[in-house]
Each structure stands twice: as C-alpha cells, then as structure tokens.
Symmetry: C2
Subunit: 407 residues, 2 copies
C-alpha cells in the first residue's frame, strides 16, 4: 500500500476540478493506493505539508459529479516557480521529505506550461537522487498553448463560453439603426487560440466576428482601421475579436497604459486594456459608435456553459495519469492525440515533460488568413469538436450548485 | 377586421423578444386581428413606415419558441424621444397617418420608462385628436426601475446571469493564498436593483458578495475603504458588488474620467469605469491584489442563462397587453402585482401610463442595511422568485440557436 498526492496550479479553468475528479477516481479504483492527498495551493502545499484527505472530502458519487462541474480549483492554486536545485535545493529537500513522510509515491500536478516546469524539475531531482516518487503532469489551460497535446482541458469550455457570449453580444450590437463597432477582448497573452475559436459561430451561419486579430502575427493600427472601414461597407454592426496579447506596431502602444511593466513570477507581463485602447483609436479615427468588452475572468470560470466534451476529457486525462504512474512512468505529461475530426476521436498518451515545460504552442500561422484579420476553415474544423455537449447543471434556488470546500 | 403593430425600444434584454412573442400569440389568437406588424427600430419604424409582417416571419411554434429564447430585440430598437406635440406635431401626424393607412388600431410598445413617455404622448395625442388607436406599454428593462409594477420583464434573467457569473467569479477569486479584493461593476445608472440582486447567493449559503453598494444612498470612498479592511478580517478574498451609478463624495469622482459629460437622447449621462476607479483607489490605499470586472452588456443579453420565470412572464404580459387593448384600454402599461412570495404568484393588471412615464422606481432604502454596504433579507425574498427556472436551450454545433431576422 502507498499514497498519492495531487495539486492544482496556474490560472483557474472550468475543467481543472474535473481532472482532479479523474485523478481521484483513478486512484480510488486502485486497491494498492490508500490515501489520496490534495495539496492546498499547488506545490506550496507540499512544501508546507498542507494536505487534505480527498477521500474525506469526496464521499459520494454526487460529490464527485458536482466537483466536475465546479469551476476554478477547489484545492487552490499558486504561481510558485521552483529555483534550480543547483542554486537552492531547499524546496526540493522539503518536498522529498514531506512526500516521503506521507508515503506518497506519485505526485500529479494539474497545470499549464509553467506548472510543467515544476513537474520537470521535480522528476529530474527525484531521479538524480534515486527517490522513488513518480511525477506526472496533467495539462490544463484556457490558453490551449501547451506543447505536444492536440488541446488542453479547460480550453473547450472557455471557447464555448466565448462563442456563446459573443453570439449574444452580436445580437445586442444589432439593435440600433446607426453603424457601430464592437471590440471584444479575449484572453491570450501570447497565443491566439481562444480568440481564434470565436470563428465557430460560422458553423451556424453567423458571419461575425468579422475581424479576428491574434498575437501570432504583427498588428498594425492603420491596417486595423482600414479593415474596420472595409467591414463597415458590408455590416452595420462590425464585430471584432481581439486577443489581449496582440503585438502592436503603434508607437503609442507602450505609452497609453495598456501594457505595463509589471510581471508575474514567471516573467509574464500583465496586460490589460487593448480593447479599450482600440475603442478609443476607432472612435477617434472613424467616429461611429464604438464599444469594447472585456470577457475577463468569466471566460475561464463559466462552468454553467462548459463543454461536456471538455469536462469529460479532463476527467479521463486525470484518470489516465494515475494509470501512467502505476505503469512506472514519470517526468511525463498526459496528452491528447486527435485520431479523427468526424467522428471526433482522441487517444490519451504520455509525452516527455522536457519537450513541454516552459514552451508555448502558438496558433498555427497557416490557419490565419492572408489579410491577417481572420482564420481559415481548418481552424473552424479543429475547434468545433471541442465545444460540443452541455453538462447537466444542478440548480438550487435558481443558481448553479458548486462543490465548496470553504463553507 | 383590423391590424395591430408592435415595436421594441430602449436597451436590449433577454426577455424582450419573449414579450414580442406574447403580443404575437395574443394577436394571432384573436380572429378580428388580421396583420400583426412589427415596426423596425421602435417608433422610428412607425414614423418611416418601416414594418414587417410578423405572420410571415413567425411561421411555426418552433419559431415562436426560439424567439422567446433569443436575446436582444429582433425588430431593432431606438432611443428616440418624441417632442411635445405643441412644439412639433410632425412626428405625431406621421405616426397617425402611417398607422391609419395600415388600419392599425392598436400599438404595443415594449420598453422601459423612457419608452413609456412615447406611449403616454401618443395616447394623449390620439385621444385629443379623436384617433381610434389604442396604445399600450409593455414593460421591459434589466434595471427594474419602472413604476407601479412589482418587477419588469428582463430583470429576472439579468439577475440570474449576475448571480451565476458572480458565483463563478467568487470561485475564481479564491484560488490564491494571498488576500485579494474583487470589485464587480453591475449595470444600474440610478437604481440599484440589479446590483442588489447579487444577494441571492446567500440563499445557497454563500456569504459573498461581502459588500454591496447602490446608487440609492451616498457612497463615501473613505467608508468604502474601511468596509473593505473590515471585511478582510474575515475573508481572504473580498468580493464587492457595485452599481455603475453610485454617487460618490470623492472630489476625484469627476476628474478621473469615470464619468463623462456625454448624454444620450434622454439626457442620461454615460457612465463607465467606477469598478476600475475603485480598483485603483483600493490598490493605492490597501495595497493587496485588486481587480475589477465589468459585466458589461453580457448582463442584459445572456439568454443562455435566462430565468424561465422571467421568460414566461414576459410572454404572458405581452399576451395580456393584447387583451387589454381589445378590452378598450389605452394609455396604460401592463404591470405585475405580486400576490405571494411562497408560493410565488403574480397577477397582471394595467396601470395609468402617466404615473409611470419618465419616472424611476428606486430600490427601497429600507432594504439597505444601516451600514449602507449590503441589503436585507426582505430584498433576498423579493429577488429569489424572479430567477427561478431554466429555459431549455437548443444547441447546434455546441452553440445556442438564436432566432435571426438578419441572416
């Protein structure tokens, strides 16, 4: 008999708890596994020996089903970057001591490409010091920017939220008889996947968003204004989807406060306000009714409109992670390989964490049109399967029920 | 045989099309009514003789059901204010001529308190000139600020969206171990109903939002900062719901650009950015992680999370409007009277438009706590019935299906 531990890291998604439910289910179905520990606030919880016994928390099928449909991370998260062990081995020593003390033989880390840095470093340290603890990464991020996997859990639900909300914004934008431009800012610091996914509305015959701008190609203010004017010839209410991280050629870019010099622990810049910026630029240059809308954190936590495909896959990949560890794998991240689009089929494999950690998978430039203001049908075909299906949501007093640790 | 016309006006909601479906259903069930005209872009469509034949558009039960679940206004809207006829009778003359030309004997205007100004003026003009056209107002607004009615169609769905999204934001806000303050800005220029409705989460044991600020009472920056500090003693992640229209005592109020001198056709100021403003104030004074979130137009058009109670009532009140006109009423707005909370029962009546037009129903000050930073249980009991039930949403390609005129 031995124990395992699982933790969640990075930004929340609607599916990260579903992967936790999957790891739990995989472990609970394994007779050799006794305790299933949840580390609070990611790797910080391991360092601080701050665990909860998940068997005491998830006591029924009802709990586990509710957990799958609860957004954000019930175990909390962190943005903690392990130093290189050569530089400072203290975190590693603490982690090894705590895990060993609890007889934890496998550690599962649900997170994005930054969190995979932790998986990589821990695995390397454990191997180097002949510590028998398997470390497996389980991907999650609404950004869909993790290497070696067809897509990441959390992305499909975010894309479904963006499409659903954008379609409602489109309806809203068409009510007045005057010309208007609506600029919707979508999350995506360096990768345009989520912004690009707004093209799925085309599948239902909706021509908007008429313009889509991604960080993978350079963004020109002048070209943008020309694009808007061109779109206005055809559409009274022009809809623009723009990634928060577009790279702008405008000199004013850095001086208008939409980019700041603040960085997080991984050196990422905090961005905000490209939508508001473009609103001002458009109003000043074109002069029609303009508004900007930031979908903000709702795009990463709106589990009431989650993709059932995403929620189910997130659980499956968590469950598969346990199997991989039991099979003796370590220093791997679980990945999806897409077998076919129609019918949609994926298989779950493992991939070397060293090919993944700290890297970013960009949206393919070949899926961006020549004008650099929209995406191709290949992109549409890629996105569509990921947003299919709706989880059954339980409502109490007219409000979705969430699984809560922090009563 | 005679004809009727219906139009939609003011800001979109998730339920205004349901009231249109109700007027249509009421008229379609009346053998004496031949054509059911929809005026495009509110009263402007009447002035310009710009009608569509709704019988040609809504050809099946499927269409009518889909229309009920489609946000915003399929007929378009306007913010057109009729001048006083003494000042300029030309609009009235055009309207009377166009309606008479089409043998329209009843005109139904679905809108908020500004739109009721149009109902009042038209009714007075028709009566004065002995023109036999009934004019009936059908209320709608997410602001819930219309006089003489228990509540307005559109409000319940907006409240359900706010509660659902806020609960997800609350989950999202709790992931990190550091203290944080999240400020959610909710629509409501002069009335705090929608912001106040965020208290419904209490019914499910959720203590957040911990602080609720409404425009009905004065707002003090210093008191706000004290409130936040006090809340931080109990809660790691403090959640604040603030109405966009709060009246602030701070001298900086007008100088920071969150209020502008722009006004709409009814003389309302455009407001934006109180959330961002309070974010900056909080960060500067308290220094923890702070973010602000603007729910923006999503709160008025997110039909995918509409209240079934709201959608059904919106249809019923539209249907009742037709009956009122057939009964000979004019210069009236349809209203709800709440008979009981538990079980929830309302009846639909008519009310004199002169008591309603251009007036605003404020959130009751007696439902605001002594500290002016939250609302009472009476408010909770008032709001809860309005957000109950979920319409069955049809999805195609993973995206809700909307009824669309503008293919």
């Amino acid at each position: 008999m031995f124990n395992i531990a699982v933790a969640q890291s990075g930004g929340p998604t609607s599916a990260i708890n579903s992967s936790l439910a999957g790891v739990f289910a995989g472990a609970a179905a394994t007779p050799e596994i006794e305790c299933i520990y949840g580390s609070l606030n990611g790797i910080e919880g391991v360092i601080k020996d701050n665990f909860i016994d998940l068997r005491k928390i998830l006591t029924s099928d009802y709990d586990r089903e509710l957990l799958k449909k609860t957004p954000s991370t019930i175990l909390g998260s962190c943005r903690y970057k392990l130093k290189n062990p050569d530089e400072d081995p203290s975190d590693y020593e603490k982690i090894a001591a705590v895990l060993s003390k609890h007889n934890i033989r496998a550690f599962f880390y649900i997170g994005g490409n930054d969190s995979m840095d932790t998986v990589m470093k821990l695995d390397a340290y454990f191997k180097e010091h002949n510590i028998q603890i398997k470390v497996i990464g389980v991907p999650k991020t609404i950004d869909n920017d993790v290497m070696n996997t067809d897509h990441t859990p959390g992305f499909g639900s975010a894309a479904k939220y963006v499409a659903t909300s954008l379609q409602e914004i489109i309806r809203d934008s068409r009510v007045y008889s005057i010309p208007s431009v609506t600029i919707v800012e979508v999350m995506g610091r360096d990768a345009g996947w989520l912004t690009a996914s707004s093209c799925v509305l085309r599948a239902n015959g909706e021509p908007a968003p008429h313009l889509i701008y991604l960080p993978e190609v350079e963004f020109s203010i002048d070209k943008f204004l020309d694009d808007v004017k061109e779109a206005q010839k055809r559409y009274k209410a022009v809809i623009v989807a723009v990634s928060e991280g577009i790279r702008c050629d405008d000199e004013k870019y850095l001086s208008t406060g939409f980019s700041s010099e603040l960085t997080d622990a991984f050196g990422h810049k905090y961005l905000s306000g490209i939508g508001k910026y473009l609103e001002n630029v458009t109003a000043a240059n074109i002069g029609c009714k303009v508004r900007s809308i930031e979908l903000n954190v709702m795009q990463r936590c709106s589990s009431h409109i989650a993709s059932l495909t995403d929620i189910n896959e997130a659980e499956e990949i968590g469950r598969a992670a346990v199997k991989a560890a039991l099979d003796g794998e370590s220093g791997k991240m679980m990945v999806f390989r897409r077998m076919s689009n129609n019918p949609y089929r994926v298989e779950i494999l493992t991939s070397d964490i060293r090919e993944i950690a700290n890297k970013e998978k960009k949206f393919p430039v070949e899926w961006i049109n020549n004008e650099h203001n929209n995406v191709t049908t290949d992109a549409l075909n890629y996105f569509l399967p990921l947003i299919q299906g709706e989880p059954e949501i339980e409502y109490r007093n007219g409000i979705p029920v969430h699984f809560r640790l922090d009563q």
